[in-house]
Amino acid sequence: MSAERIFDIRNLHVTFDTPDGRINAVRGVDMHVNAGETVAVVGESGSGKSQVMMAAMGLLASNGRAEGAVSYRGQELIGLPKNRLNRIRGAKITMIFQEPMTSLDPLYTIERQISEPIMVHGGLSPSAARRKALELLKLVHIPDPERRLKSYPHELSGGQRQRVMIAMALANDPDLLIADEPTTALDVTIQAEILRLLAELQKKLGMAILFITHDLGIVEAFADRVYVMQSGEVVEEGTTRQIFTRPAKDYTKMLLAAEPEGSKPPVQDDSPVLLDAKGVSVTFTAGGGFLSRSAFELKAVQDVTLSLRAGQTIGIVGESGSGKSTLGRAILQLLPSDGRVVYQSVPIQGLDRAGMRPYRKNLQMVFQDPYGSLSPRMTVGEIVTEGLLVHEPQLSARERDEAAIKALKEVGLDPIARNRFPHEFSGGQRQRIAIARAVILKPTVIVLDEPTSALDRSIQKQIINLLRQIQKSYGLSYIFISHDLAVVRALADYTIVMRTGRVVEEGPTEEVFRTPKSDYTRALMQAAFNLKEVLSRQAVAPA
């Protein structure tokens, strides 16, 4: 391409001053974007990919410092006074972020959020700004745009909020749109829609897109050129085709190979049923307080039946709000629910805290957020052995410590870790600690609630391997809850697809993935495994 180079980063360094000394987050990065092209920056968390953009836009945290050169059409951006920077930032170069809820002010209507910057920057009258806002909402395909102008951010879904953010970013006809993980917080089908929208808008408006992501699936379907970043440096760059077919660096190869792989053979039909749940329903009531009689009811899970055999892994798949996590908690009696749950021919449905205690040892759970599920004020040793305090109170402190050493070794951590605190570990290591906490009790069933969702692909793969290995050595049964189809395919031998609290489809994993019966499952598969086709199909026939 001989297109004009509009955005050029040369030898950019970003450093942060912290109590522990200086951290070099970005170390000499060179990047450029030509007019109209789509460039992706990929890397794992902590690779500095977001900090490059933050530094270029003058948005670094107060303890950060940027050195180097960033130019937009020959205009140097670093060190530019704020008022002059603002003429470019937000007008010619705009950004959209990962979390659309926190990027919108909850106290203003959508109309005001969109039109205010237009009025300030473009000098439009209120009525003209309103017309422009409406036009922008139509451009990003928000259904019923007139009504949406009067809505507040909390009335919109995640995907709609991201569309509003895109509309705001487009308000001043930008040359370059920087998208920092814009679809990470969204479900796969919504992600596909947003990407489709971005591709369509690019075609229509001819702007360049700089796309920051950790998801190689998106990159392959979406980008022209790719920069691969690792610990603050660009390790490889090239066209998408080149990177995906002939990666030069080991790191890139490792990233490409990090897609979860393998599958689990189904268990024998005669293996005993460990956990049998029939007609499980969970209803949340909101409101209905002292004075208002009418309570609002939300049926989070409706009439779900499943039976888990020894050694089996049941994958529960669904988008956010499908009730899959609620189902997992209801089965473990962590939430009040209706139905009938039997564990090894003992009905455990509706048991209270004390009544459940003897069974808790065998029914363990691992949570999604490796940052939130470990108490920050306890050492790893205390966290891992807490279950022993409850279930094997006869153990001495020394015996507990030995058990902790064994469990930590089992999950691949150095036992020295038990004197340290959770915040000193990375996400993957924390998830290992959480698994150690469950495994130390030698349970028979573990409910895994999105244990890999907050992790990078390469770390995910390690955790998947760890889970497989533990399952094999203890003959464990898993209920694996995830929105990530690739992970479920690799781990589960039976899959249940859920939507709005109901089971849409279920069956052996191979069958469900190969020949999905319902339209919903098919749409999920498409968005997850065949993004490129979804995007190209839509580009031909824009909605």
Binding site: A354, S426, A434
Partner: protein, 379 residues
């Protein structure tokens, strides 16, 4: 794959590392806050002064020196040298002796006297009668007993901060009042801490109807006028300082309970609490191991702000005559006395005020510093 290998070089080296807890990190950050560290130092000095100050001070806080009522603060000792000789002369005139020489040498008065007649050694009693001379002795008597050399000790006292309206040393009184004020602050805050944390954590954790009832009890207690409550307590329990401030603590726990309850409600939804529930940990265990340690940050900050509040409250109660009783005293009492004597003896107001201001400032700065150090948003 970077996960295991990165992060901790110490782990790889295999050295026994002690984890750096959140508290250690906070302490490190606090150390860089100069105002907070100076405050901490001042606070330590205050605690030292409160504990051992009254023992080290040369005067007892209750000793009355009738001849030194409201003497201003001074580095010089009382009585001043130029006052001693006139005093001695006026006393000696009554002995009808002829004074040949009189001088003050440090803490001893040296007098040479003579008479027409024989001198009765008992005349030293005249000197003894005066408050400032003691241990009068005849050092030398001439052969005919007509002239003597006498010596007497002069008790010279230093009142660095002056004396109060009753002639008591202000420094000693400030030291003892620091002891009382700190004790009250610690006692009342401790009571507030224990009741407030237990109450708030229980209400927040159990939630639902229990929470409703418990917090309504707090609301009812809030509605009680404090002064009225304090007077009632005095009526029931009599004037007992310790009891009084246990009672103050029992009122001040209301805010603490609300803070802890709010924290608990947000913690209860955190995954580590759910994880503990999934492990089968009892409610008590969850409260003890998970909820309370995680609420301690805001609680400690509130404590450093509660101590000055209680100290001020005590001043108010003492001002009303409900607090500490004479001869014990507190900073509040000293200041109110000082305010009454502001025109004639301004130092009586200035020194206790400085002491209180410094104490309150350092507590507040330390509280601010702790808040910044423990604030997870800064991480």
């Amino acid at each position: 794959m970077t996960d295991i290998a990165t992060n901790t070089p110490e782990l790889a080296a295999g050295t026994a590392v002690k984890g750096r807890s959140l508290w250690a990190t906070a302490l490190m950050r606090l150390r860089r806050n100069k105002a907070a560290m100076v405050s901490l130092l001042i606070l330590i000095l205050y605690i030292f002064a409160g504990i051992s100050g009254p023992m080290l001070s040369p005067h007892h806080y209750a000793t009355v020196y009738p001849e030194y009522v409201r003497v201003p603060a001074s580095l010089e000792a009382y009585p001043r040298a130029e006052e001693i000789i006139p005093q001695a002369e006026s006393v000696l005139t009554r002995t009808r002796l002829q004074i040949d020489a009189i001088e003050v040498n440090g803490n001893t008065l040296h007098v040479e006297a003579s008479s027409e007649r024989e001198i009765d050694p008992r005349m030293t009693r005249y000197l003894e009668r005066s408050d400032i001379f003691s241990n009068v002795r005849i050092v030398e008597t001439s052969g005919d007993s007509r002239s003597v050399v006498m010596e007497a000790d002069v008790e010279r006292l230093r009142f660095l901060f002056g004396t109060d309206a009753n002639g008591r040393d202000l420094l000693a009184r400030i030291l003892v009042s620091i002891r009382i004020s700190l004790m009250i602050g610690a006692l009342a805050t401790g009571v507030a801490l224990i009741i407030g944390v237990a109450w708030g954590a229980t209400a927040g954790f159990l939630g639902g109807r229990v929470d409703n009832v418990m917090m309504r009890v707090v609301d009812v207690l809030y509605a009680l006028p404090f002064t009225f409550f304090a007077i009632l307590l005095v009526v029931f329990f009599g004037r007992n300082v310790v009891l009084m401030f246990v009672a103050v603590g029992a009122v001040e726990w209301l805010d603490m309970a609300r803070i802890v309850r709010g924290q608990t409600i947000s913690l209860r939804r955190r995954e580590f609490v759910q994880a503990a529930e999934a492990l089968g940990v009892s409610s008590g265990g969850i409260l003890r191991r998970h909820i309370i340690p995680n609420t301690l940050g805001p609680v400690i900050i509130y404590m450093t702000l509660l101590i000055p509040k209680v100290i001020l409250l005590e001043s108010f109660l003492s001002f009303l005559g409900l607090g500490v009783q004479e001869p014990l005293t507190s900073l509040g009492v000293l200041i109110s006395e000082g305010a009454r004597n502001m025109r004639s003896a301004p130092y009586m107001l200035i020194y206790p005020s400085i002491a209180l201001t410094l104490l309150l400032f350092s507590l507040n700065f330390l509280g601010d510093g702790l808040r910044d150090a423990l604030d997870p948003r800064d991480r």
